[in-house]
C-alpha cells in the first residue's frame, strides 16, 4: 500500500477538499486550470478528489450532497450547495500564523501602517480574539532599497565589508531575495565581482546605491537558511566542546553534528574562515574549547594575545 493512501495523506486531501468546495460553491463554476493554480494541486489530483466528492452522499439524499460535474472542456460546475458551502473555521495554528504573519509584514520595511493589511488584521482580531502580540523586526537601513531592487530586478552598487576576509569592497550586485535568519538580514544577489550568486549580510553593507539599471527578473531563489554553508562543501569543520553556559551558541551556529552528554555539548561546526572561528572563540571565552583540528586548538589564545597587543598595548 503506498503512502498516498495512509491517514496523513487522507487528512491533507480532506483539508484541501474542504477549502476547494466552498470556494467553488460560491463561484458556481471554475476551470480545472484555475483551481489547480490557486490550490496548488495537479489537475489529476483535483479531478480525482472532486469526482470522489460527487460520489459521496448519505441516505436519503444520496444525490444531493455535493452536486458537481466536470465538463469536457475542464470546467467544474456545482449545483445547489448542501454540504460544505462554508469553509471550516480557522484552526488555532492557522489563526496564529495569519495574525503573526500579518503583524510581521506590518513591521517590515516599507509597510504602510494604515492600509489593507491593517484592516484585515483588525477584522481577524474580532474573530480570533485580541491579544497582546508584538513583532519586532529591526532591519538595517539598506533593507528597503534592496527589497525594492529585488522586486524590480534593479542593479545596485554596494560597499561591503566582509568579516571572513576582513576586507572592504565595492561591488555591483543584482538582489534576488532578502531574508532574515536568527535576527539578521541578508540579501542573496548576483555578484558581478565573483560572477556568482552570493549572500551578503545587510548590516555590513556600508553604502547602497540604486543604479536605475534593470535586468531580467528571475525566479526567486530557494530560501534555505539551514543550508547556509552547503554551497561551500569544501569548508573546514571544527569540533568544539561547550559547557552549559556556552550552549547559547548552539542555536546560532552552522552545525554539522551535535552530541550532548548532559554536562557538555560537543559540536562540529562549519568554519567559513579562521577569523570567524577566532571571533566566536573570543566571545565564548572559557565556555568553549577546540578539540580538533590541532592547528586551531590554541586559536583562542593566539587571537587573544594578538588582540591584547594590537588594541590594548598589553603583552602577556
Amino acid at each position: 500500500m503506498s503512502d498516498r493512501r495512509g491517514p496523513r495523506r487522507v487528512a491533507d486531501r480532506l483539508r484541501r477538499l474542504l477549502v476547494v468546495l466552498p470556494w467553488l460553491m460560491e463561484r458556481g463554476s471554475a476551470t480545472l486550470g484555475e483551481m489547480s493554480q490557486r490550490f496548488e494541486l495537479s489537475e489529476a489530483e483535483l479531478v480525482r478528489d472532486l469526482e470522489l466528492a460527487a460520489m459521496c452522499g448519505l441516505p436519503p439524499f444520496l444525490d444531493e450532497m455535493i452536486d458537481l460535474f466536470i465538463d469536457d472542456d475542464g470546467t467544474v460546475n456545482v449545483g445547489i450547495p448542501r454540504f460544505f458551502a462554508r469553509p471550516l473555521r480557522l484552526t488555532a495554528p492557522e489563526g496564529f500564523t495569519l495574525l503573526a504573519a500579518g503583524r510581521l509584514a506590518m513591521a517590515l520595511p516599507g509597510a504602510e501602517p494604515t492600509g489593507s493589511l491593517g484592516r484585515a488584521l483588525t477584522k481577524l482580531e474580532v474573530v480570533l480574539g485580541d491579544d497582546a502580540m508584538a513583532v519586532d523586526v529591526p532591519s538595517p537601513p539598506a533593507t528597503l532599497d534592496l527589497i525594492g531592487a529585488a522586486e524590480r530586478g534593479e542593479r545596485v552598487q554596494i560597499a561591503y565589508w566582509s568579516a571572513s576576509s576582513d576586507e572592504a569592497t565595492e561591488r555591483m550586485i543584482t538582489p534576488r531575495l532578502v531574508f532574515a535568519d536568527r535576527g539578521r538580514w541578508y540579501v542573496v544577489a548576483d555578484d558581478d565581482r565573483s560572477g556568482e550568486r552570493r549572500r551578503f549580510r545587510i548590516d555590513r553593507i556600508a553604502s547602497c546605491q540604486l543604479t536605475g539599471e534593470l535586468v531580467d527578473l528571475q525566479p526567486v531563489p530557494e530560501y534555505a537558511p539551514d543550508s547556509w554553508f552547503d554551497d561551500a562543501p569544501e569548508l573546514a569543520v571544527a569540533t568544539l566542546r561547550l559547557n552549559q553556559s556556552g550552549r547559547w551558541a548552539v542555536e546560532r551556529l552552522p552545525l554539522r553534528s551535535m552530541n550532548d552528554d548532559g554536562d557538555h555539548v560537543i559540536v562540529e561546526v562549519a568554519v567559513a574562515s579562521e577569523r570567524w572561528l577566532a571571533e566566536l572563540l573570543l566571545r565564548l571565552g572559557s565556555d568553549a574549547m577546540v578539540l580538533a583540528p590541532g592547528h586551531w586548538v590554541d586559536l583562542a589564545a593566539r587571537t587573544a594575545q594578538a588582540l591584547l597587543a594590537e588594541c590594548y598595548a598589553v603583552t602577556s
Binding site: R5, P7, A11, L14, L17, Q37, R38, F39, L52, C56, P87, R89, L90, A92, P93, E94, G95, F96, T97, L98, A100, A101, L104, A105, L108, G115, S116, L117, R119, A120, K123, L124, V127, G129, D131, A132, M133, A134, V135, V137, P140, W161, A163, L177, R182, G183, P219, V220, E279, R283, G285, S286, M289, A300, A301, A304, A306, C311, Y312, S316
Partner: protein, 310 residues
Amino acid sequence: MPDPLERVTNLLALLLETNVALTLQQIAGELAGAYPESSSALRGAFERDKSILRDIGVPIETEVLGGDQAGQTAYRIDRARYELRGLHLDDDERHALQMAVAAVRSDVGQHGVWKLGGALAGSSVVVAELPSLAWLPALRIASSQHLSVRFEYHGTVRTLDPYGLLLRNGLWYVIGLDHSRGAVRTFRVDRIEGAVQTVEESSFEAPHGFDPRTVFPDDPKALGDGDTVAVVRVDVQIADALRRELGDGSVVAEHADGSVEFDVACANLDAFRSWLFGLGFHAQVTRPPEVRAAVIAWLRQLADGAAVSP
C-alpha cells in the same frame, strides 16, 4: 478497496447533519457498508477517521449517553462551531494577508488564506522569519482569553498570566506575571519543556495598554542592572557601519585618522563583550576603566590558555 477519503467525507457530512449525537453503532448503520463489521476493526477504523478530522481542526463534540444507552459515547459536530463565520474580507485585505503569508513561507498560513478565499500567492522576494512552535497558538489564545497557563521551564513548573507574546530577533517570548515570583517575567517559548496547559477557571487582568516590547530593551547590551555606557573606539574601516548601527547621537569623538568613538550600552557585560569581539581587531573599549579592565582580563585569561577543560 474504497478510497478512504470517501468514508471520512461521509462521516463528516453525517455528523454535521445530525441533530442528535450518534453512537458508533448508529454511525456504522447510517454509513452502511463503509465500516468493517467486526467490532474491534470498526472501532479502529472509526478512531482513525476521528483523528483525521481532529487533525484538520474539525470540532467533534462527544457526550456520554444515559437511559437505555447509558455509558455509550455519542458524537456530533456543531455546525456553528465548524463553520468560519463573521469574517468578511475585501479583496485588497485578502490580498494583503496572502502577501504576508507568502513572506513567511508557511503552509499552515496558506491553509488559512485558502479558507478566507485567497489564492496561492507567488513567491515573495522577502522572507521574514516566523518560527513556528507548537505552543504558540495555545499561548496566544490563553493570552487573548485571559487564562493562566502552566508549563515547565528549566526544570521548574511555572504558572503564568500570559500578558503577551513577543517575536524579536527570530525568537518568541511569552511575557507575564509569574505566580511563584510575584513579578513580571519573560520566557523563551522554545525553551518551554513539555506541554503548555491552560489553567481552567483562571482569570487575570493584564496591565492596561500592556506592550511586550517595553518589558525588555531591544538592545541586549542594555539588558541588565543600571545603565552603564562604555566608550568604544573603532577604526576607519568600520566607522561608517557603526555609525549606521548606533546612530549619530552615539558619536563621542571623531579622530583625524578616521577612527570614531561611540557610546555603547553595556549594562549586560556578556552581551557587550560578544558584540565588541564581533568587530575583531577594529575596535577597542577605551573607558570606563572598569569595563576596559574587564575586557582585558577576559582576553588575558584566554591568552594564558586558561580556557582549559570547560
